[in-house]
Symmetry: C2
Subunit: 310 residues, 2 copies
């Protein structure tokens, strides 16, 4: 039986299977005991489509529109005014403070249970602007197969994303087979309190963890407490996570997804003849580091025969 049917029989697939075969063979010098089989995955651009915007930004835009009746001042107040005009680039000109203001306004003030329901409701109806599919249908099928293949070989699979931990948990189990306790992301602070005698956690408009770049090894240690054996990413935000994984010594496997299929998905990244400005978050130096350090680079054009489930 072919465990990775959406993968072409190219070097990338062969490298994955050779690695898993080696570390699960208890006669091999590279054998890794089941308890230590930890595989970590970035989410945006690695497990699902992140173009033309990371999905959570579509959620932010829709939330701003939904909440506008309670906040008429947003019509003239940045970054909200630009969001309402559909000009996200202008909204984000305010940099990190603008992004935090948007996150606080759209993600805080309710209980964790209420927020979970808001995300579920949105996911059930929102659609990708190009394909018209639900965002959860924009998961990369080869990666979903890979997650299942690794679990079948005793790996625990974790998400280590810059996206919101509570934005991913409501659907990650259904879409990826990854339970909430194995989903790690950025977060805002929460506060325990009794509301009408009921114990709840209230979401506060204050950053708790920004889970990107050098923050990823930190949360890997905080949440998992083991160094991963395999790590999967697609951008400079994943560089430190891949380095940290490789630095563990022994058998390690690092992989970057290269988006080079404009017809079936989007094309952005190195080695595509694009000007630097269009490389997005997979930069030329990251590409060169991958080649130098023996990380596998997957071409979605050449290595994947299907990108999304039909």
């Amino acid at each position: 039986m072919n465990p990775l049917p959406s993968w072409n029989d190219t070097a990338a697939k062969q490298a994955i299977i050779a690695f898993v075969t080696k570390v699960t063979n208890d006669g091999s010098a590279a054998f890794v005991p089941p308890a230590e089989r930890v595989a970590v995955f970035d989410n945006d651009g690695t497990l699902w489509c992140e173009q033309p915007l990371p999905v959570q930004l579509f959620f932010v835009i829709d939330r701003v529109k939904t909440l506008l009746p309670e906040h008429p001042e947003w019509k003239t107040e940045e970054p909200f005014a630009s969001v309402l005009k559909g000009d996200l680039a202008a909204a984000l000109e305010g940099g990190e403070p603008a992004l935090l203001a948007l996150a606080a306004a759209t993600h805080a003030g309710m209980t964790t249970v209420e927020f979970e329901q808001i995300v579920k409701n949105w996911m059930a109806t929102a659609k990708h602007p190009k394909t018209g599919k639900r965002f959860t249908e924009m998961a990369y099928l080869p990666m979903v197969e890979l997650l299942a293949y690794l679990r079948a070989n005793g790996f625990k699979t974790f998400i280590i994303s810059g996206g919101g931990i509570e934005f991913m948990r409501p659907w990650a189990e259904h879409v990826y087979g990854i339970p909430p306790e194995q989903v790690i992301g950025s977060s805002i602070k929460t506060k325990y309190e009794l509301r009408d005698g009921e114990p709840v956690l209230v979401r506060l408009p204050e950053l708790n963890v920004y889970n990107d770049k050098a923050g990823k090894p930190v949360t890997i240690n905080q949440h998992i407490g083991r160094r991963p054996v395999m790590a999967f990413g697609n951008s400079t935000g994943d560089k430190e996570m891949l380095e940290y994984t490789q630095g563990g010594g022994g058998a390690r496997f690092m992989l970057l997804v290269l988006h080079d299929d404009a017809a079936r998905d989007y094309a952005y990244g190195p080695a595509l003849g694009l000007p630097d400005a269009q490389l997005g978050s997979f930069t030329q130096p990251l590409y060169e580091q991958a080649l130098r350090q023996g990380w596998t680079v997957v071409s979605e054009k050449s290595d994947w025969n299907l990108i999304f489930a039909p």
Copy 2:
């Protein structure tokens, strides 16, 4: 086969077994699917002995002595001077700042890998002052049996402790069968960096999470993302964790361990005729709350026929 041989056949044991039987019977209205079977345990005083001091304080004392040659100023500087004189009460008169100073001096400055080895080395040699046993041999046998019994019934078992997350992980898997990713505790911050080209996490002298009281529901949500079905504690530090568990609605089980066996362990807590000052962290109001809200209170004297493994 008796899954809880160190438990007497009293109401506490019967309540545990009745609850587990009910939530694992898929014909029962109280059935809980395996993915949602989350059980959380405090550590100090719940899973192992916390008298005459929480074990991590013995570690702090020994670390201060070990590091003294590098810090001769500690001989006259508080809180270190009092620690060196063996007067911990005086050392802790400085309150939280004193405790943080001790934690920073003894727990920070090294990499996470180095700290793990320091803890392992200490655990392999340090002994309890009264029993002469290794601290890992001071785990409560009935609770170790309970952890195994719950896992055999599809529960995931987690530690939610005020103690240090990196202090517990090096031995929790061996002693309790709880892997690092299911150990949650207080922590200091860490920073990712390259040391001689090697990616490491360096432990910083700065508090990250204080995992006690109202902080426990917060980290339960942050790390697990589900509301527990069962919760086990022994002190006011566990009150909010138990309330939060019960507040989930549906079938829930909350338990407090009452230390009332001065001969085999220590006696401190309510309903023992002790003056308030000797109740320790299991207060009279907590006891009354347990009775009022239907939480099970385990008497180690009456409900446990063995306390430590012989």
